[in-house]
């Protein structure tokens, strides 16, 4: 079956997790599928999204919440989008300026050394500032519809910090984060690698918690296309997914880390030092982090393929929609399960994975946060070894009870139409 379209332009943002796209190009996985792909480095998520919506780009790396936001009309032009695969799980960290780090240590040393409690130290610092009438501190994320935004807010709220009122949240492009930390225009940020590592290497910031500590093996980036494009090019779409799943599998092997880092560090791709990129690829030791309690170095958990990392879990999409409600981005009632299922195409993934003999989950939804240790996903032709998926506060997200989950948070936007939010049995 020949693809409907051979020559494609794919958009990416210079970050470690554009790796599957770059590797599929450099190692010829696209070529094997008969695709002639041009890669287009984009400077902002908004422009990348507009180009996919307008058909200037065929497909692009997107933040996991972006195709949902475009489908719901929350971000830019209203345009239904879909994703047939995730481009990786984990990544991101919260880094604070060296000055704020010192204040946090002074305020609550015990909290700072335990990432899950670290927001408590920030809370103490904020309380002092509020008593003394200082302006709220500024934290930056990379885009309003990003896991970074939801992770930072989850972490802040875990210690009773209201992200809307106790701090000022802004958006700063990732390559500008370190300069802003240095200049003192921001006090902290949640950003992907290699920017946290760079902040540490340049002595301007310290990482206080990683995305992995907030929600283990959480979704991060996806490959997105407009629904219209997917409908018109089903075979091209499948060919793209096959190439990218294979590239992801190659990337997950730690022996390929050095080779991958060298390719990714080229000026046309990420354009930063290969050693820093290597430190954010699977299996690398984190120079930024103190050893764990048993003295083992902390290993970066960026994951492109293992633990069904490429599978577009509908439960991930449903969690994202709960956060859109939680933070007031989505104010009208929708059927959470139906929207998630129309954007995250688990069925398409299974189809494609089957064509190349790769194991895929037979279910689209799992209870998130129910596994604190490595576990086995039995719902597959051959069981899949899975990594833990717990949240920092031990909460569990049962997609069938999305509304109750949403209401269980004390800090959240008002939900004027809560009776209307449906959650069809997922």
């Amino acid at each position: 079956m020949k693809p409907e379209k051979y020559s494609l332009t794919l958009g990416f943002i210079p970050l470690t997790d554009c790796a599957p796209i770059v590797i599929a190009q450099e190692l010829g996985y696209f070529a094997v599928e008969g695709l002639n792909v041009a890669l287009s480095r984009e400077a902002s998520w908004a422009t990348l999204r507009d180009k996919v919506a307008l058909g200037i780009l065929d497909a692009a790396q997107m933040l996991a919440p972006m195709p949902i936001a475009s489908t719901l009309g929350l971000s830019g032009i209203v345009r239904p989008m879909v994703t047939g695969m995730s481009l990786g799980i984990n990544g991101n960290a919260v880094t604070v300026s060296s000055a704020l780090y010192a204040r946090m240590l002074e305020a609550d040393f015990a909290a700072v050394v335990d990432p899950r409690l670290s927001a408590r130290a920030l809370k103490r610092v904020i309380e002092v500032d509020q008593r003394e009438g200082r302006a709220p501190m500024t934290f930056a994320v990379v885009f309003p519809f990003s896991m970074h935004n939801y992770e930072l807010r989850y972490w802040l709220a875990s210690a009773g910090i209201d992200p809307e009122n106790d701090v000022r949240l802004i958006v700063v492009p990732p390559p500008q984060m370190v300069a802003n930390l240095r200049a003192g225009t921001i006090d902290g940020c949640c950003v992907g690698e290699p920017w946290n590592l760079l902040a540490r290497a340049e002595g301007v910031g310290r990482t206080v918690i990683t995305g992995q500590d907030i929600w283990r093996n959480k979704p991060e980036k996806v490959l997105a296309v407009s629904k219209e494009w997917a409908d018109r090019h089903p075979r091209t779409h499948e060919a793209l997914l096959r190439a990218l799943i294979r590239a992801a599998r190659w990337l997950d092997d730690p022996v390929n880390g050095e080779h991958a880092a060298a390719l990714l560090s080229a000026p046309g791709y990420i354009g930063v030092d290969a050693a820093l990129i290597a430190a954010s690829l699977p299996g690398a030791e984190q120079p930024d982090r103190a050893p764990d309690r048993n003295g083992r170095p902390v290993v970066n958990p960026s994951c492109f393929f293992a633990s069904a990392a490429t599978f577009p879990w509908r439960s991930h999409a449903m969690w994202i929609i709960t956060q859109m409600y939680r933070w007031g981005q989505l104010e009208r009632p929708v059927d959470i399960g139906a929207v998630a299922g129309s954007v995250y195409l688990g069925g398409l993934y299974r189809e494609v994975a089957g064509q190349i003999g790769i194991e895929a989950p037979a279910i689209d939804v799992k209870i998130e946060g129910a596994h604190s240790t490595p576990w086995t996903l039995g719902e597959a032709a051959h069981a899949i070894a899975m990594a833990p998926d717990t949240f920092m506060d031990g909460r569990q997200f049962d997609p069938a009870r999305s509304v109750d989950y949403l209401l269980s948070f004390d800090i959240r936007a008002p939900l004027p139409a809560v009776e209307g939010i449906a959650c069809r049995d997922p």
């Binding site: 998520w45 958006v171 492009p173 269980s408």
Partner: protein, 205 residues
């Protein structure tokens, strides 16, 4: 609505100073004022808040687009029209984006002669969009208020065995006596009931 010919306060976000110079001259010649020129980096959100421009002109390939995008989603930051320019040759598709009414793009790069007409269009569209959004907000809040009154009426009927009309009259009288809006009375009534008979959704874990 803006009166035609009004002097606009403009913020330019661009990496290329030479290009910015040309555009600034053209805008000044047309009676507008460039109140800020931003190269990239820094705290653009703070700068916009401090300068408070009527319109922002930005290179579509500037990473700062995401910062502006975020500001549009925050209600407390006053939204401002954003005009984007690009050297992309996808003129037709970009024009369709302009027609979609969400963004305004200037094609063929930032040529001074093209900026002014597009600026006018962008501002007009933006104001249309804002007006529609405000209308929608208004409609939404009216509906929400009606629902609150209905809910409070139901509580009153359940607790006092009044019929619907009597319950409504009782609420209207109470609101008039206290000189408050009936929806505020409904809110108080609902809150009081929830306090006295906590039967809402379970909170936890």
């Amino acid at each position: 609505m803006r009166t035609p010919g009004k002097r606009l306060r403009i913020m330019l976000v661009d990496r290329l100073p030479e290009r910015t110079n040309t555009v600034e001259h053209a805008l000044s010649a047309a009676g507008h004022q460039v109140v800020a020129r931003v190269m990239a980096g820094g705290d653009l959100a703070a700068e916009v808040a401090a300068v408070s421009p009527d319109v922002i002109i930005i290179d579509i390939d500037s990473p700062d687009r995401d910062t502006l995008e975020h500001m549009r989603t925050i209600s407390r930051e006053r939204p401002r029209p954003v005009v984007m320019f690009t050297n992309d040759d996808n003129a037709a598709t970009i024009r369709s984006a302009v027609r979609a009414g969400v963004s305004a793009y200037v094609v063929d790069g930032l040529h001074a002669s093209r900026v002014l007409p597009v600026l006018e269009v962008a501002i007009a569209r933006f104001e249309e969009f804002q007006a529609m959004r405000e209308e929608l907000e208004q409609a939404k809040s009216t509906l929400a208020e009606r629902k609150l009154v209905e809910k409070a009426k139901g509580i009153l009927m359940r607790q006092t065995r009044m019929d619907e009309e009597a319950a409504y009259k009782a609420m209207r009288k109470m609101a008039m006596d206290r000189n408050i809006r009936i929806v505020d009375l409904a809110r108080t009534l609902i809150a009081a009931t929830e306090l006295l008979e906590p039967q809402g959704r379970k909170r936890g874990p």
